[in-house]
Symmetry: C5
Subunit: 375 residues, 5 copies
């Protein structure tokens, strides 16, 4: 799902403005009203390729990564004390989800939410496991903000992540850290892995916001210097991006907060220190987003005032010119009348006197406008 192109020429190209859609931005997929709850229908908009399944197992000592052809292969070796992470890319196979659900005891309503992409991020506790929905948001190669849904199931001895399309996988750096054994990650369990994944998602908002911050600065310069008609459209677009980001980050903050408050024992004490750090990042994100929103609100005002000043300046020019020439024109008109008896016309220097009079009047009016501050 592509939302907006941040573009490569200027900030947002006009052509990309059309591409974003309020409907897609704010709507989760929904069943036809009346469908029984917890019905799993494959998303028709999603390519029919079978989902890719990856199983990663590791402990402090070792690391193994396998591509699976069938999900059932992942069910075999669950009690070897290792941390196991099942990642599924693609939503085209509801049967796979049903199998997962049966094996791990996942609730059908949760599985329904996995398929109905476009959900608001959220966390729910079902008997013995957490179900999280998050948005994987990133800038693509062309500068467009893209987003897709990621669902996480965190149980005492499993972590399952299900991605929508996986055109770009923000979890890769975590995998790299697992492979290389850098940091503490291999020594901690499923809960730390879940933290690391959520943290990876949260961290990706920072470069996006930095890009938007640069866009705000460019626009501010533009609005103060020479606002054009496209500026308003772009500003409106900018507000929309921020509205969307707020809508995604705010509930993400709730997810980290709730994991932090966890009392089920799924989240260990050592991990909570890290989750507090992650929560802290979401607070910073909200802080930046809200400040940017306030800044864009102020820029609309800036723009409107800028237009009204320009109108005022144009009016001033029009008025000064008109007011100076209209009386002159009138004088010329009077002496253009064809009355037979107009004594001034016969005088020798009448013409020069009148022209002199005109010049005097023009200079006097100019002086008056100067004094009034209109010039």
């Amino acid at each position: 799902m592509e939302f907006w192109s941040l573009g490569s020429t200027g900030f947002w190209g006009v052509d990309t403005v059309r591409r974003s859609s309020w409907v897609r931005m704010f709507h989760k997929r929904f069943h036809a009203p009346g469908t029984p709850p917890a019905t799993l229908v494959p998303a028709e908009s999603i390519s029919g390729e079978p989902p890719k399944i990856t199983l990663i197992e590791y402990d402090a000592a070792g690391f193994e990564e396998r591509k699976l052809a069938r999900i059932e292969e992942a069910f075999v070796c669950r009690d070897n004390g290792k941390t196991s992470w099942i990642n599924i890319d693609g939503l085209s196979d509801p049967e796979l989800l049903r199998a997962l659900g049966r094996h791990f005891g996942l609730h059908p309503l949760a599985l329904e939410d996995v398929l109905n992409v476009g959900q608001r991020p959220k966390i729910e506790e079902y008997n013995g496991h957490f179900f999280m929905v998050a948005q994987m948001t990133y800038l693509d190669a062309g500068g467009a903000v893209e987003g897709e849904q990621v669902s996480l199931f965190l149980g005492p001895n499993f972590l399952i992540t299900i991605q929508e399309e996986a055109t770009r996988d923000l979890f890769e750096p975590v995998r790299q850290r697992l492979r290389s054994g850098r940091g503490v990650i291999r020594g901690m369990g499923h809960d730390y892995l879940a933290y690391a994944l959520v943290d990876a998602l949260v961290d990706h908002f920072f470069p996006i916001l930095e890009r938007i911050g640069e866009g705000i600065e460019e626009m501010e310069d533009e609005l103060l210097a020479a606002p054009t008609r496209e500026s308003v459209g772009r500003l409106h677009q900018l507000k929309r991006v921020l509205l969307h980001l707020r809508r995604v980050v705010w509930p993400t903050r709730e997810i980290t907060a709730m994991l932090n408050r966890d009392e089920t024992g799924l989240i260990k004490r050592e991990t909570k220190v890290f989750l507090r750090d992650c929560y802290d990042h979401t607070v910073q994100l909200m802080d930046v987003i809200d400040n940017y929103r306030e800044a864009t609100a102020g820029m609309m005002e800036l723009y409107l005032s800028s237009v009204s000043i320009r109108t005022n300046e144009i009016m001033r020019v029009l008025t000064v010119i008109t007011v100076i020439f209209i009386p002159l024109n009138f004088i010329a008109g009077v002496y253009g009348m064809n009355f037979e008896n107009m004594p001034e016309l016969q005088t020798r220097y009448g013409y020069f006197v009148v022209v002199g009079l005109m010049l005097t009047l023009a200079v006097a009016l100019l002086a008056l406008f100067k004094k009034k501050g209109w010039l």
Copy 2:
């Protein structure tokens, strides 16, 4: 009660704008002040046809659906262990409500609310049963948003629903599921049935909001391209629809939240998982509505700025043309004066010199405006 036509030609036809009414939108029916509380007066605006009564009884094994001529027929077989649902379409017979009230112990104040349609959705607990008021909101064939009041009484062994007019019955899909025995619905009791009905109402807001989202997009394109005078009226109308939906969805959220928190035992634990899902949907609806409201607020700004830019552009054209021709006109006027002694008039190339001067002046002014960015 029809509120707004979303229309089939364009988004909202101008003719349908008139049809909505703030009074009808925001007002519950009320008695003349001073009427004793709990007085049941038939709604005069409602057709005099006798209400239609339907009794549905089912359990995991079987399903029976009967149309009743008299409400008393529904009182006979209450203790057969089956789940029974009494549905009444039409409010023209207060005596029927009184009979219901006597038999099931419904509070007269609740019955009064059933008749005084236009209530804000709400849930109240009376001794041993819940009383809920909800709004059945849908798009009719012509694209108009329609709404009517539904009242639900949920007791330990009864579920009664009372609809205002039943021109379109959103409960039909639930009935279909009962008939076909699809899903778990037949195996659960009255509380699950109540959930299923509320869920059906909530689900119907999604297509309405999707339609409105499309309308917002159309309007946004229009405002950026070529705003007309009708745009403001339509935008105002759009804000009104959203105001109304907010007013209906917000308390509906409260209903699902309170059912979820229920401590009377009327709602079973299995059902609460489903109610949490339904609550989640209302949260999503509120989220979408609030975002749409914010979007429309931004569009009003967009519109005003668009008008002020256009005014600015028109001013610019007027000013450029006037400022160029006024001095030229003045020169022509001067040489149109009838003074006898105007030496220039007698010179051979005076006319050509003056015309050349005029052209030079015009070109100079054009260059100046070009430089000032007014062209």
Copy 3:
């Protein structure tokens, strides 16, 4: 105290706009600063006629209504098991209030609030009794919104109501119900009577709001069709009425809520069900008022945009006409110059060529404006 005339001609007549007063609307009467607290000074603005005292006593069996000459007559028969209601119309006699206070143990600060009319509605608990201040708000014969203060003292065996002027008594329907013995009212005690009186006050806001809702609709039509200068004044007035109603209804809601939460035992359990209904009505009122306020805020925007579109249209006409004729005028001016050597003037068809040129130019400019969408 008359606040605003809703008028009979149109919505608000201009003449009645002047009559409302922010000072009177928002100010309670206050003593000169420094006056000792609980000083009872008769309101100087109130007619000097002695207050009218009415004593109503009833139980399920009987009903008696007496006009008393002196308040002391009401103190005689307090322990006959009947429900007794003392109603006082008029505030001109502080001594009467002092006598009441001594006999029933009312706090001097409460009595001070009775006299200092214009209080915000409120409820206070003193030792063993409730003291309530409410606003009796109604539409008078001419359509004006009028309001006066009502004070209620509710004790275990007395209910005292003190009205400001009693030009129109909203308690009359309650008295009618008592007289006729309709409903349950005679069988319940002082607390139910207090509820019935508060409910009567609350119910009277519904027709007022319905009237205002109609006013909003009329104004909306007007603003979309042909906004005039008076529209703004009327809209401003409308916002003021809503501001005032909000100010009165909001604390009234608090009164019903607090009576509902009562733990002193003054309010019986049976009565609380009715109070919840009354509370529900105040919530509905707030809901309607807030929606109306939001609607009027949107209408100000509508109005401003309407004016700016009109200005834009007028500008367009001015610009089109000016831009077409200014060049034509210039051409005419050129050939009106009196140079001796202007070859075109002597040509045979010069005049016709020039006029043809003018027509061509006018048509070309018209076509251009047509294309630009300015016509």
Copy 4:
């Protein structure tokens, strides 16, 4: 510290607008950063006259009022069972404050706040006594709103008040009541005296708000009738006064609320009833201030719309006149051309036909404008 003059000519004289200062309005005096906390530096802006010390002692039986030359005289007779009130006017002597602090055990940080005038009103509990800062706000003779800081220390057997300048002493009426023995004041202790003083401060806001309410009304009439350029400045000033009053009254409300909730035993139960009344007054004040603020916000809109309508009207006049005369002028210009061969010029009635044509055209255009509603 004078804030704004409410003026005697009109509402606010233009000259007094300059006098108010955001810095003085919103800033407490502060030490140079880095000064150790609790340093007592005399306020340089305060006159060097020695502070005036007054000691009042009274009980139900008697009353004594003495002017003291040295603060130590007040420390002698503290245990005579009488209520004693030490009032100090003037802040020029930090040594006096230090002596007070040593004798009564006042915290140096509190004494620092006494000297750093311009504090936000607040209440703090130190070991065994309350420290309150309040603003004494009043209208001076010329109608200006003036304010100065008052600090109160309330201990179990002392009440100390310290005023900034005492140009006008709002505590005088309380002293009068003490002298005359009116009311209950002499029979109550230090806590009631503290209440009486706070109440005196709170009561003085009512006449100020009444004056402002009148100002709002005048301005509203002015804005609806004939808004001038000064109106905006005055309206802005009015908003500023309200912003300031809100800033002073809001924390004063907190003071009364906290005294009311007191659990240290410093405030007796009898006094709390009066404090609730005082709290109630601050609630009313906030209510009025907030309503006035909302009213002034609406008036800014009213003003802007008023200006835009006027611009629209002026545009209309300009457009009508220009559009009528421009074509007429053009016709006259055409027949003023000097072509030799212009057949119409030689016809006998050409002139009259043309003038007739002109009149017809003018009348037709007037009719058109009439129809368009521009006249």
Copy 5:
């Protein structure tokens, strides 16, 4: 990090407007997404000079201040009962931080925040110590608002402060007090020292706000008198500074509040009285900032209304002049026509009659405008 120059010429020089950056203002430094948490990377933007380490040790009796070459020298003498304060200026050496972390048991996530400057102020409790991030904000010599991050670690027997660049050290006055032994500071422990440092930071906001208050006043005068195009830019800038200050002060308030609520015993009871005073100062700061924000919001309105009035005035002049001269011009045009048969032209006083007529018309129109209030 320089944010805005408050400038020395006027308030904000236009040149300095460009220098502030939304990105720098609102963004903390962040790692490339995917970096493991708690990675210490030296800030590349920071000069490579080695950090300066200072160790201060004191008790009531003595004071010692030493510059250290290596951080390990600070670890030697920790248990001498003295209060020790380690101050580090510069962030170029992550190894130093790691050594600190190992010795004092500081959490790696906290150390990461020390390096990633631009953090929102915050306080966190780790096992046995507090970690605080604050912003050192001050006006530099040229009047620019500068800010840099300060991190504080407060443990039971250590206080460590780490500054970003130390171009200007706001802690110097505290050091002076320690050296001179003024006040109580030497007799209190680490917690009081931490308070003194936080208080020094908080105190520095007062002169900044006073400067801004003066700027608001200047701008207000300017907006009421003669608003120019630069005014809007400067006002926008002013809002931005306030937005930034709010963003820094608000969480600083939280820091003081949390230290005040401390239950770990790190903060002694005597110190809490001082912390309450410091908390009080942050409340005052927020109060001033919010009032300034509201004031600047009102000033934008003031500005827009000012521009619209000026446009209105210019329109009025244009309209009056145009409307007076257009008919006169027309009359002159009529008698400039070249019809052969125009009887008026041959009359003797025709010219004078027409000129008289023109004057009369002009005077009549002037009178009309006077009456309409347009002159």
